[in-house]
């Protein structure tokens, strides 16, 4: 029975590493949202359905919406600033 828990925690770590080890911001953010959904499953496994609901709605939902908006903002305004080497390097797409 622990196999499922180990797999779940392994997935969590893998997604977290993937989210950080990803230079394309949009992918990072999508992985963070997926991470939130997996966290919700973990909360249910830990007997905390209350936290699972909040995590799915806030951790994945609201945080994800805020992050996607910010990434969109950076991309949208990318053109007027050709000077920022970092912006170009980390910009998505």
């Amino acid at each position: 029975m622990h196999v499922f828990d180990i797999l779940l925690v392994g997935m969590l770590i893998w997604i977290a590493v993937g989210s950080l080890n990803q230079n394309r911001l949009f992918k990072s953010v999508v992985m963070l949202i997926i991470f939130g959904l997996f966290m919700a499953i973990a909360w249910i496994r830990l007997g905390s359905p209350d936290v699972a609901l909040a995590e799915a709605a806030i951790g994945a939902g609201v945080t994800g919406a805020l992050m996607l908006d910010a990434v969109g903002h950076l991309r949208e305004r990318a053109t007027p600033y050709p000077l920022g080497p970092e912006a170009a390097e980390d910009a998505d797409e």
Binding site: D50, L53, A54, I58, G61, E76
Partner: protein
Amino acid sequence: MSEHRHRTRLLPLTAAMLMLGVIGRAILALPTTGDGLAVPMRAGAEASGIPNVITAVLLDFRGYDTLLEIAVLMLATVAVLSLREDPAALSRRIAGGAGPVLGTLTRALAPIMLLVAGHLVLVGSSGPGGAFQGGAVLGAAGILLMLSGYARPAWASRRAVRWVLAVGLIVFIGVALYPLLSGGTLLQYPPENRKDLILLVEALLTLSIGASLVSLFLASASSTEGGGRR
């Protein structure tokens, strides 16, 4: 560039490994059972007639944390508003027009989420659910509706918008201070109708948290295009 990066990674790596070791040692030293405050909390919740212990902890025993929590949400909205470059901020609408995928998704999801939020509040005192959870789902549903352009904030004046943002906190402060008039302490609900009052506060808080999350998103959403859409 890359040499510089390698050098700057040594310190973070050391810090992370150090933390891992410190936490690991502390965790392995713990006994495998430990009740914390679970027993007195459960007994207290039972005495109050609130079957969901977490609701009892959040709204009754540690209601002060929750009061400050609502303050955090309003503060964050104010903070994000203060960082806008333009003054119109909240009263401008997010550019609507959902893509086909998001549109269909919203049409299917939003009513369900609203139902779930309502359900969570109603059952929050017995099953899983309550103000935080219901408010969170409500907030997420609201953001989805805004994003897809089905609902748009078209408030009359900036004054009205400000009231909407502050009213949750103001009402909660009022509820918290009300017991002082009859000799109670801050947030002390009278024992005879504690359960009903807590349910009422819970419903108010659900709406307040939901509204705060939506306004937090609206306050921060980028102006010219529908933020978050892809």
